[in-house]
Amino acid sequence: MDRQNAKAELTSHMKVLRAFAMSLTRNDAAADDLVQDTVLKAWSNFDKFQEGTNMRAWLFTILRNTFYSNRRKAAREVEDSTGTITESISVKPAHDGRLQLAEFRVALAELPAEQREVLTLIGVLQYSYEEAAEVCGVKVGTIKSRLNRGREALASSMQINIDDQMELTDAATHAVVAASGGTAA
């Protein structure tokens, strides 16, 4: 791949790359730094990129490897940051079980990065278990476990009892009907 084509394709992935960085860091400045590091590493290692393969997946792999490498180096700072976030969380259930998006973001930020990563790859980007396992460098069983734990944690934050999903759906429906005088649309 020549340099201009490489740059054009790299540029086309920048916004999704930054969104993926946000899914890992939940912090604008940290996401920007992560994208910058990823772009520089990718650009200086384009000889290792196999033309015809998925550049986005390749960039994701560089980005996540950089993120986890940086996190290992700054483990203490990350713990402090997580503590601050945890203390600031105050999740209130909406009447139908939905969180406002801002509240959902807070709940998402509370999850371990490994769970956010898998939730993003599978829940948002529609990766298969196998594709996510390849990007993350772990076994499919680990991906399934992280996905389930992440969803359970978010469901818990949304005050959804996964074992009683249908029952709570009925309760939520009844609440809406009752609140609207029995004429819920």
């Binding site: 916004k15 899914s23 994208v35 910058q36 939730l119 993003t120 829940g123 948002v124 298969s128 999903q165």
Partner: protein, 64 residues
Amino acid sequence: MANRPQKQPWDTLIDENLKRVFDEDANAELPPHLMELLDRLDKIPVADASGTTGATSQSQEEAE
């Protein structure tokens, strides 16, 4: 064959929120310094397939 996750009803609700969060982030404007970085890429040498430019170490240094 790819193994696609089986979804529960609440998973769909969670995924919808995940997508909204991701879309908001993906639709945000890139900060100026990242745009400037893309402009500067042309000035950063790239090793060819045989790695013969001799610029790799310089680029790696910048990456770190």
